[in-house]
Each structure stands twice: as C-alpha cells, then as structure tokens.
C-alpha cells in the first residue's frame, strides 16, 4: 500500500515537474505545477505530516498558484514563449549536463552508504513525532515554545512583503505618470531590452 501510494504520487510529481519545464504556455505550466503540488501533499501525508499537507494545498496550490494565474491573466502574457531560441549558445545542453551531474552526485552520496538509513544522527529525544497528540497540536506546541521567535519574525516578514508588493505594483497617480512619461519620451525603445537615447 505504501509502495502504491509512493509510486502514484511520485509519478504525478515528476510528470507535473516535466510539464512545468517543457510546456510553452504559462497557464499550462501553472496547471502542471498544481499537479506537482498535490503529489507532494500526498507524499507529506504518507510521511506523517498531515498538517503540512493541508497547508501545502491551501497555501501553495490555493494561493501561490492562483497569484501566478492572476499575474498571467492581468498582464496578458499568455503569449507562448518560443522555446526553440537559446539565449546563450550551448546553454541548454550545458544546463542538462550540469543538472544530471549534480543529481548523480547527490544520488551517489545518498545511496553509497547503503539503502537502509541515509541519516547518521540519533533519533530525536526532544521533539518526537509522537502519536499521543495530533500532528497539528504537537507542531503548534513546538512552534510556540521553541521557535516562537522565528514565528514572530515570519509574521513581520509577511507584513513587509505585502507592503512591498503594494508599493511595487501600484500605478502612479495620473499627474505623476504623465510627467514621467513625458520625461521618458526622449528615450525610444527599439526592441525589448534596448533603450536608445
């Protein structure tokens, strides 16, 4: 049963990832990403991380991917990317070789010591994943006692990022925008990536 869940969820994850890196239409790639995220959530559940699986679905698949789709729809850049063009000559084969080499290295490191246990540390005595209370209550106890500083810091981080997003993406009021556009009309843009004065 474990094997079946792992194989099916693993296939969903890998096929979704392949879809993200090969599909040319951004909306299709976003939907492939959703498939990968759901596969990862299933794998979380099979490793006793039920709360994280729920948070993964709600936050990643339900908010982050939706943000991606908002931006794609807002900007109308669902134009397909020409994936035949290579920015630097030989970049694609080099990326493939580099990626496979890095994967090979990590697999050798993982599997050379024997397939039984990859970790050398002792099992934890301070924060075991016990079965006496639910996963979410144990995780909550841990977050609010040992990691409370990091918890509050991430709350501040989220607030800062929201303010930053509002500032970065706002449209200037009309008078400021006209001034800016007038100042810029001295610059002519011939093609994307070049501003010629």
């Amino acid at each position: 049963m474990d094997l079946f869940v792992f194989v099916v969820a693993g296939l969903i994850v890998l096929v979704g990832a392949a879809g993200v890196i090969t599909l040319s239409h951004p909306v299709h790639a976003a939907l492939s990403l959703v498939a990968t995220l759901f596969g990862v959530a299933v794998l979380f559940i099979s490793r006793d991380a039920e709360f994280l699986a729920a948070v993964q679905v709600i936050v990643y698949a339900g908010a982050i991917v939706v943000l991606f789709l908002f931006v794609i729809m807002l900007l109308g850049i669902d134009r397909v990317e020409d994936i035949r063009v290579e920015p630097i000559a030989g970049q694609r084969p080099a990326a493939l070789v580099g990626g496979v080499a890095a994967l090979g290295l990590s697999l050798v490191a993982l599997l050379a010591a024997g397939a039984d246990r990859t970790t050398t540390g002792l099992a934890s005595r301070t924060a075991p994943i016990g079965e006496d209370a639910s996963n979410i209550s144990r995780l909550g106890q841990l977050l609010f006692s040992r990691y409370v500083f990091a918890f509050e810091a991430t709350a501040i981080l989220l607030t800062v990022s929201v303010v930053a997003a509002v500032l970065l993406a706002r449209r200037l009021p009309t008078s400021d925008r006209d001034e800016m556009l007038a100042a810029e009309s001295e610059l002519t843009v011939d093609e994307p990536g070049e501003a010629v004065r």
């Binding site: 890998l14 990859t118 997003a165």
Partner: protein
C-alpha cells in the same frame, strides 16, 4: 518492497534537479518562478522525509517556515514582474536590467 525514507529523498533530489534545469533553460520570468517553486517543494519533501526518519518534529517546523518565506517571496517577486512587464510587455529574463537606474 519496503518504501524507506531514502526513496523520498531521491525523489526530492530528482525534483530539485528538474527545477534547476528548468530555471536555467526557460526565459519567461513567470515560468522561472515556477521552477523555483519546484525546487522549494523538493526541499520541503526532503525535510519531511528526514523528520520521519529521525522522528523529529523540527523538520516539519522547518517546512512550515520555508512555506511562509516562499509565499512572501512569491508576493514580492510577482510584484516586481508586474512592474517590469507593465512597461515592457515582451521582456524576458535577459531584460531585467530595465530595473537599473
């Protein structure tokens, strides 16, 4: 055949590699962002596999924080993408030098 935690870590390594290759190969900024999300998910899967292996809930707390930081990063990154692409709708990753000055 017993599914051990090593299998999960290997799957996460493959997912990470696919995300890294995608990040190097694609030019559309949004798809590059999605490849970064793939890599973050691979790291989360690694954390959870090791948390299960070592019977330590701290691994799951780390995943919690990674998810929060990833969400904040996506918010700011998409705001930047919106700001750049609004002015130059055909910009690719090579054109982010528009932010200069």
């Amino acid at each position: 055949m017993q599914v051990t935690d090593t299998w999960y870590v290997v799957l996460a390594a493959v997912l990470f590699t696919m995300g890294a290759i995608g990040l190097l190969v694609r030019r559309n900024p949004l798809i590059m962002f999605m490849c970064v999300e793939l890599m973050l998910n691979a790291v989360n899967l690694t954390f959870v596999a090791f948390a299960h292996d070592l019977n330590d809930l701290g691994g799951q707390a780390a995943v919690f924080f990674v998810m929060v930081v990833a969400a904040a990063e996506v918010v700011v990154g998409l705001a930047i993408v919106v700001a750049v692409l609004r002015r130059q709708p055909a910009a690719t990753a090579d054109d982010i030098s528009l932010l200069k000055g």
